[in-house]
Symmetry: D2
Subunit: 354 residues, 4 copies
Amino acid sequence: MHNGTRYRIAVAGASGYAGGEILRILSGHPSCEIGVLTAHSQVGQLVGKVQPHLRSLAHRRFEDTTPENFIGHDVVFLALPHGKSGEISDAIAQLAPECLIIDCGADHRLIDVEAWDEFYGGSFHAPWVYGVPELLVGKTKQRDNLIGAQRIAAPGCNASTVALALTPGISAGVIDGSDVVAVLAVGPSGAGKSLKPNLLASEILGSASPYAVGGVHRHIPEIQQALRGAGGEDIRISFTPVLVPMSRGILATCSAPLSPGVDAATVRSAWETAYSDEQFVQLLPEGQHPATGWTVGANTVLMSVTVDEKAQRVVVIAAVDNLAKGTAGAAVQSMNIALGLPEGAGLSVNGVAP
Amino acid sequence: MHNGTRYRIAVAGASGYAGGEILRILSGHPSCEIGVLTAHSQVGQLVGKVQPHLRSLAHRRFEDTTPENFIGHDVVFLALPHGKSGEISDAIAQLAPECLIIDCGADHRLIDVEAWDEFYGGSFHAPWVYGVPELLVGKTKQRDNLIGAQRIAAPGCNASTVALALTPGISAGVIDGSDVVAVLAVGPSGAGKSLKPNLLASEILGSASPYAVGGVHRHIPEIQQALRGAGGEDIRISFTPVLVPMSRGILATCSAPLSPGVDAATVRSAWETAYSDEQFVQLLPEGQHPATGWTVGANTVLMSVTVDEKAQRVVVIAAVDNLAKGTAGAAVQSMNIALGLPEGAGLSVNGVAP
Amino acid sequence: MHNGTRYRIAVAGASGYAGGEILRILSGHPSCEIGVLTAHSQVGQLVGKVQPHLRSLAHRRFEDTTPENFIGHDVVFLALPHGKSGEISDAIAQLAPECLIIDCGADHRLIDVEAWDEFYGGSFHAPWVYGVPELLVGKTKQRDNLIGAQRIAAPGCNASTVALALTPGISAGVIDGSDVVAVLAVGPSGAGKSLKPNLLASEILGSASPYAVGGVHRHIPEIQQALRGAGGEDIRISFTPVLVPMSRGILATCSAPLSPGVDAATVRSAWETAYSDEQFVQLLPEGQHPATGWTVGANTVLMSVTVDEKAQRVVVIAAVDNLAKGTAGAAVQSMNIALGLPEGAGLSVNGVAP
Amino acid sequence: MHNGTRYRIAVAGASGYAGGEILRILSGHPSCEIGVLTAHSQVGQLVGKVQPHLRSLAHRRFEDTTPENFIGHDVVFLALPHGKSGEISDAIAQLAPECLIIDCGADHRLIDVEAWDEFYGGSFHAPWVYGVPELLVGKTKQRDNLIGAQRIAAPGCNASTVALALTPGISAGVIDGSDVVAVLAVGPSGAGKSLKPNLLASEILGSASPYAVGGVHRHIPEIQQALRGAGGEDIRISFTPVLVPMSRGILATCSAPLSPGVDAATVRSAWETAYSDEQFVQLLPEGQHPATGWTVGANTVLMSVTVDEKAQRVVVIAAVDNLAKGTAGAAVQSMNIALGLPEGAGLSVNGVAP
């Protein structure tokens, strides 16, 4: 695609939280040069006003999200509200056919039209290559599919976290995917900058509040798709996200029935085998459990696996920064693979803590 | 026990969080007069120094936790570390046989010696009347057992929350107790004032962290006992508490398999029937889910019940203030019942929010 | 005004944070019965939906804020956006001339038309009796003016906190009011439920952010008015509020130059004299400083006074719950005085902590 | 000192918050290789257990803080409790005379023995080169003194923040240093991992609490020293830190009297002149004020300058990450200058937000 050493990158939806995180990561990426930044209501505004933490871009201004503005870029990241990516990606593809397009929205994630209609609605768009390199797909990793890809769908943050937590067990047959329960403590940044009363600081501070209870959260079909991809057949999942007072982070407490006759060592080895060579998905030593604070700003998923013999369930707890590895980090990591760059370029394995 | 209108109350362990909350509630109780306050390392210290929010008692001093100090009181609340209540309660009972003793520790909660040995260890103490008035016991309520009681075991905060969440479904046979999953977002005040590194503000702020993962939390046998009391036979529970950055509160996301052939209306009516007459346990209207912030300082459990048809699970979410209804409120409510006072005396149904 | 024992109370703006706090307090008030609750966009909605922490009123519905709806009430609390109280209070006064009206907005606080024009603008409304009973006015207390009052202006939360912190020193002549500096750590609930991006939880969590910097905050003229009332002549104040991640609370760090030749004991005695008989304004023992967490839900101001000899400044730190003593508590306390009820009726001196 | 491209770095006190932040930054530094990590009570423990966010070092173990362990390193960072650096630095200097030693403690910051005795006590140690490159010293910058330095004293986080905020005005003569007032909202990580009751999450969450009130905070003489260095003569400062519920961050609200006859434009130009060429100290556009959240993990100080004509004060607000630019970032930046590396190597100007 490019014979120089630096790729020119555009970001659509650069005024939001996901767009801001993509920019934060790309600002430290050795092979990237940041091109056009587009927005909607903030067109013409200084980046320093809207994303004041991005000091290296403070003097830049947001432009309009018109397809023409993306001409001349090697990579375009779309961090747009669901439904918008589908429209614009076709237009960009026509204007700049060589361009690598990475969508951080949901528009290109689902294979199943019915699931799309049920959970999202509106026009269905063709699925792109799913941007979770470490995900087991059968006995291989999704990484293989990302090499040289031109259209990538970055994952939903909750979905990729739960999928990474459970696919090793599904793939190895040590857990039963038909009765998965996942309860997630999540920070409000996952909901973006939407001006909703329940996202006001006064409501979130000092309180834990669930939402999308009872099987209606949009990340459910995405999880099911991933677990099926790992070999699960009858996948059922009870999924409950709980907003807690931290700006970033997902702590996913996932469990599934232990398959009959499987011992704890076999369970653990399924996860060890899956992730021992991965830098960004790490299984903690036995007895240590992850905290979201350890992953802030990092492209890292931390995980523990525990067998509860009495409850006959395997409990997998995964911590992640929803904006970093959950969204923007996964997108940049996927870009690196697609472009043949070192997979970890621009990405940190270490969190900003405490 | 007393023919006047005011009872004289002693609190042992008055320097801790649970003891402080008992005092806060009793300070506004129309029939109580606060007597001796005892502590351990804070003996001689002003209450205003150790519990600076208790302005009405700021000039009082902590005394020693010796049995003699409790003579002359009508009621003694024990808010001591586990293992301590057992010792002192015998001595108090001898010195003041008429006294109502309410233990907020675990020493008198469990019926099952084996469960005690496995989860706590040390001397086993006889179980006292369990202080959760609204709990279904068979088809009756625990309230009946509290009338006139002289020895009361206030509940574990997590345990009573999960028990109240699930017993209506167990009792009505609409859920299966053999595969319960409970994940709780909890504030650190439940752990008391212990000086542990993981309870430092720097560690908790901006982070969610699980603990006691995989079937080892001490509240598990207490939950099992309550669910069995409601008619459950084979009770298995996967229980995971997650510390989140709020000082108070428990948001318990509980689920259990839907019994075959039961419809959503039947499920809901189990909880409606159980709690429609209760002031302190309230089922929210369909579609509304509880937040812990709404219960701060209140003696209230808020609950939602949702049937997830696809996952074939009933999801019950309960919010509570762990120090209030979870501990001190339950203790005072139980005292009110035992003494024949109005059950809600001194207790607020309304939370301090936002 | 009334020869029964219970007063019928209406609350306008009952869907907001201040209105909610008035209702929370009145729900536990022995001499009050809650009448009409009015709102704007939430008319017809259940209280349980909008103020879900107010369980005792969950079944009630909001009505329209028309003057007629207030007929038949003994007391009307106005918790309306600034500018609205002025309009409606005249209409109510005509319809119900005997009614006690307490405005929690700014419309009736300022005496000085020029200050009104500069900081607020729009129609000026006559000042009502200022609802801070403990405030020194010359050598007397504002309490005297509240007895039998029919029109009361509850204070601005920041303003009353700073005024209570500094008036003893101004009145006693031990500090110089011409170079006051006040920096306040404040929770976002003071800004109400406004849907502004800077009030989103993602922005507030983990961050401290100043606003209204450099002499433009609307509470400045209110503070100046109070300090002048205490005897100050040339009052100048540098005032900076800083939003911090706690839902409630004001921690006001105030300082002013020590008057020449005054020693530390004389300084301290100014505050001791002013507040030793007050239950709701308490000077902490030397060496102890207040935290806002100790005042949550309480009608209490906690204060420390420290002389910094080297800096030649007196530092007064005051902690308060902005919604309670800062607004709704002050309003109810003022109502109690106006009606001849016990001043502390329905009000708690103890905070909900931790 | 070294003719290769990578320097070998040791960190003493690597188990604490400051030590951890040094390691986080060095892990991404292109010219550094991390050598020995020493601790006290954690000797032998895995880094992954104590600093679980430092995934790239998780397999390393802490060694003992004996001078011999530092032989063979090019740079040693000391992140030790005050009083410990003085002892060990002499021993290291003897064993490895060429070594660059950077002390993050207070032992080598103060020039004035009397100030040391008053605020710290114990043995006085010779002052080292102060590690705040952007600080005005007379009309030059401290950067010049750091070039080629072999002994560097990293600043106190509060001290450097206030010093950077005020020195431009002192140096230009537009503010009067004899009546400085600084009130700081600070996160608890500045206090380290000390197990103190007031640092427990339950105490910090939902609360703002001052400490070291009235002229006793140890950073005061350090600020005075810096302001004198910038040309101030009679420096007096009222300094109050307020703990707020965020793990990291300092929001310093500083003010000083406006010098007679100086206009707002002249004031602003003093700060513009001082910092227009600095990448890590940035003056925000007029009307924008900094938030600490924008600086998390960054080596950046954000600042606003406002003239309050009525109060006759200049208000300077500065936001910083206490662990990053406040401590570890300043230390690494100083190392870069001392070693002749690019000043910003390994340091990020962009914060992790929201």
